[in-house]
């Protein structure tokens, strides 16, 4: 590659040198030749004219005296000038008075012409009038060799020879010059090739001269040093990158391993959970079936005692038996509520669009149906929707509205309001009553199972309802809380995820006729 470049550059240089030499020589030669030829032309014409003038002057007396012999002698003197091929003297009337020619076959013009110089082929012809005292005595005619082309060809020959010699000299000189210029360049090119092949950036070009090529070598070395440093940096960062990559791979493998482990653990836990859930199911099933049967027997046979032996049971025993029956039923209710609580904790949630207002209306309708004697003013807001399990949400509303219904039983004008506060994507439902309320100091006990803030004598209940509500709301990812004052009523809040359809809801409370 370097050799090729070298050769090509060398040829270009040589060509440039030779071409410029040639051009210079050609221009110089052309100028010299042109100058010389022009000079020759002018001087030859002047010479011939002078000759003709001289001939005229010397022949004027001969013409005046019509002495042709003298004129002839004058003409014959021309034999010393070999360039003059022919000459003649014409008399005033145009007769050829005397003539001279090297070649005897030479022809002469029949009549003289006025003063003139013209070129006829290879000859220069001059006519010159012989004038004496303003009288035209005759005309001199000269025909001489005109050697312009001969001279030109001679010059061209010389020029060719000169060119050959000059070019040869230029060639030799330029070769030596090239060697001086190219050798340092070639050295740099060789270093460049070596650097490329061996990737050895420690190599340096030798600075052979204090000129542009020397500067080039310096710049090249600087560049090499720069590339060497950049390469070292790059390699270092590559090594760093490779290290990072391998570290990352190790980390990823670790993550994969941990994930696999985690999945395994999740599977194990899931299996355990499923087993536990199965146990719980079995337990609940058993409770549901077996725990109630003895209660039924206690209640049934207590009643049988009262019915079958009305006379034998004293009043106190009758009272005790009734207490036994009351406790039995309470126990049954407890079991029922516990089963409900367990039921809302088990099983899959069936998420769907739920019309909360409609469920609330149905719950209130059931309550009115169960206790037709109660006169409660209930207002349920319109268009309350949520996203959740409709069955569980119904249980929650049954408990909350049922509580309001129960605890407002001693109010003068019982009122219950079921509504929805919307704050962005958060939906907060509330159930408000003007019933017995409670002291907020016990609010933290509110949602615990079997926690009651009122005595059973005051209000019936097992204390499981709000625990059930909270479990349902928690399972929906929501929150439940309350606000109350003793004697002023209570508000229970719970949040549920909103559904898209709920967004168009109105906030106008709609009163339901009590």
């Amino acid at each position: 590659m370097a050799a090729l470049v070298y050769r090509s550059v060398q040829r270009k240089l040589l060509r440039a040198v030779l071409l410029s030499t040639l051009a210079a020589l050609l221009v110089a030669i052309a100028a010299m030749v042109a100058y010389d030829l022009a000079l020759y032309h002018r001087s030859w014409i002047a010479d011939l004219r002078t000759q003709a003038e001289l001939l005229g002057r010397s022949s004027a007396p001969a013409l005046a005296f019509d002495d042709a012999r003298v004129a002839q002698e004058n003409l014959n003197l021309l034999r010393y000038r070999q360039q003059v091929r022919a000459a003649a003297i014409y008399s005033a009337n145009g007769r050829r008075f005397a003539s001279y020619a090297i070649d005897p076959a030479q022809s002469f013009p029949a009549l003289p012409e006025p003063d003139a110089v013209r070129i006829d082929g290879d000859d220069l012809i001059v006519f010159s009038r012989i004038i004496n005292d303003r009288e035209i005595l005759g005309t001199v005619y000269l025909r001489a060799e005109y050697e312009l082309y001969d001279r030109l060809f001679a010059y061209l020959g010389i020029a060719a020879l000169l060119l050959v010699v000059a070019m040869a000299v230029a060639f030799v000189l330029s070769r030596r010059l090239q060697r001086a210029v190219m050798q340092p360049l070639l050295a740099i090119a060789n270093i460049a090739r070596e650097v490329t092949e061996k990737r050895n950036y420690a190599l340096r070009a030798q600075k052979l001269s204090e000129d542009e090529i020397g500067q080039l070598a310096e710049s090249f070395n600087t560049m090499l040093a720069e590339i060497g440093r950049a390469t070292r940096d790059l390699e270092a960062s590559n090594r760093e990158a490779a290290r990072e990559v391998s570290e990352r791979r190790r980390a990823e493998e670790e993550v994969l391993r941990l994930n696999a482990e985690l999945e395994q653990r999740v599977r194990e836990r899931t299996a355990q959970l499923e087993y536990t859930n199965g146990e719980l199911e079995a337990f609940c099933y058993s409770v549901s079936h077996d725990l109630r049967a003895p209660l039924r027997a206690i209640d049934g046979f207590s009643q049988a005692l009262l019915e079958d032996f009305p006379a034998d049971v004293p009043e106190d025993a009758r009272r005790y038996l009734n207490r036994i029956r009351t406790s039995t039923l309470r126990m049954a209710q407890l079991i029922e509520d516990l089963l409900n609580l367990s039921r809302v904790s088990r099983g899959e949630l069936l998420h769907q669009e739920v019309d909360v207002a409609e469920i609330a209306r149905q719950v209130v309708q059931d309550l009115r149906h169960r206790e037709p004697g109660r006169n409660v003013e209930v207002s349920i807001w319109d268009s309350m929707h949520a996203h959740g399990d409709s069955k569980l949400l119904r249980v929650a509303l049954e408990n909350l509205i049922g509580n309001s219904w129960k605890f407002s039983s001693k109010a003068e004008h019982p009122q219950i309001e079921i509504g929805l506060l919307r704050d962005g994507s958060k939906n907060t439902f509330f159930v408000r009553d003007n019933g017995a309320g409670f002291d907020m100091a016990y609010a933290n006990k509110l949602f615990g199972a079997f926690q009651r803030l009122h005595s059973v004598n005051e209000f019936q209940g097992t204390g499981i309802g709000l625990a059930t509500v909270q479990r349902i709301i928690h399972r929906h990812g929501g929150r439940a809380w309350a606000d109350a004052k003793p004697g002023k009523g209570a508000v229970f809040f719970f949040t549920l995820e909103s559904s898209a359809a709920a967004s168009a809801g109105l906030r106008v409370p709609q009163s339901e006729a009590a």
Partner: protein
């Protein structure tokens, strides 16, 4: 035509007595055949095992079936009854303490005609049994003889 027969499948002696008491108090005098586990119930119906040689022309008009039974559960008994052409049409009332939704669903899926929860309170229970007896013995038209 022989007197209509009520069959009670119940393992709990208390529940058995209370059921019989409730039937008696609502003046239902029909004979009640009581079996105490699932396999005995099947033996009685098909006249096998300890009930070998029973008059098979006398099939119960209604079967009051508890779900939680020793040996063979109530749901299995129901399945066997529904699988046999001789008993496929006999009305079966599931009478149980369970309020589990799953039990209800499976009972109906297997072809129970009715599902009644035994209330704890005796008066309510007696009321339920009485209504059951009256309905199935008097009001309901049994499937034509098979």
């Amino acid at each position: 035509m022989a007197e209509k027969l009520i069959m009670l499948v119940e393992d709990n002696a208390d529940d058995e007595e209370l059921t019989l008491r409730a039937l008696k108090r609502s003046k239902i005098a029909n004979e009640v055949a009581v079996t105490r586990d699932g396999s005995e119930a099947l033996e009685f119906i098909f006249g096998t095992g300890q009930h070998e040689g029973r008059d098979l022309s006398r099939m119960p008009t209604v079967i009051l079936l508890d779900l939680k039974l020793p040996k063979l559960g109530g749901l299995e008994v129901l399945q066997r009854l529904r699988a046999d052409p001789r008993t496929r049409l006999i009305p079966v009332v599931v009478l149980t303490s369970s309020s589990e939704e799953e039990d209800m669903l499976r009972s109906y899926r297997l072809g129970a005609n009715s599902y009644v929860r035994k209330p704890v309170e005796f008066s309510t229970f007696a009321d339920a049994v009485s209504q059951l007896g009256l309905y199935w013995m008097l009001l309901n038209e049994p499937p034509p003889r098979f």
